[in-house]
Subunit: 146 residues, 2 copies
């Protein structure tokens, strides 16, 4: 009797980096694949709860730490006193963060890689990653003079 099983999405990706494909990890990956803005641990936990995936904040922290170690995710800061995460595969974009409504837009910009080479040559500093975020007011908040 064929039972509908958990689809093997993400399973191979996880196994590739020597991680077991647990329900929580799979759900977290799906969440990350379907969100356009970086999310924090609380948001991830809320999603898991809604999906009826048993979890615990400590587990989510552990998952995000190991995903980041394995290079699946990237840890970023919007200066909120906590971390956010996004898939590391989303390369070459930066964030426009509205300080009024909190909306986050992506912004592509390709001058950074060239700059990194320059830094390496001039300063001898080997850049392995970078963070570039712009803070301000999005179009609608700006227009409302809010």
């Amino acid at each position: 009797m064929t039972q509908v099983k958990i689809k093997h999405d993400c399973k191979l990706e996880l196994n590739d980096v020597a991680l077991r494909a647990t329900p929580a990890r799979i759900a977290v990956m799906k969440f990350l694949e379907n969100t356009t803005t970086p999310v924090d641990v609380q948001m991830i936990k809320n999603y898991l709860d809604k999906q009826n995936v048993s979890s615990d904040a400590a587990t989510v922290f552990r998952i995000m730490n190991i995903f980041t170690e394995k290079g699946i995710t990237r840890q970023i800061s919007f200066n909120e006193g906590k971390f956010r995460y996004e898939l590391a595969s989303r390369e070459d974009h930066h964030h426009l963060i509205c300080k009024n409504c909190g909306k986050v837009e992506d912004f592509s910009y390709c001058a950074i890689p060239a700059l990194e080479k320059d830094i390496q040559k001039k300063k001898g500093f080997l850049v392995t990653s970078h963070a570039l975020e712009f803070y301000g007011l999005c179009e609608s908040c700006k227009d409302r003079q809010n």
Copy 2:
């Protein structure tokens, strides 16, 4: 009899933004003026202790919050799970943060203002501030293959 009093450095700067020039606030400003790398609350507290300026961590947090609100300092994150601060007057520079030894170098780069104008035109997003940090290995850590 003329007594040596606390020099009025910083006093006017503080009063200008409607803040009282207290010993702790003055000492914090002096510390910030004399450090080249962004400092965290614990470092500030240590400095105040060494200077025999009575203080408390809660007070330092309050000082840094109000300094940041008033635009005296800038709050930045090196993804350490805590904030660092630097004088907002130190414009147009970014940081090269060594992940091995923790050394922080400044790096000047002036393409960002132009980019901000571009963002405003293309996205309608009004940029009021930004964060750009590079992580990697400084020259000596890199050479030691550490």
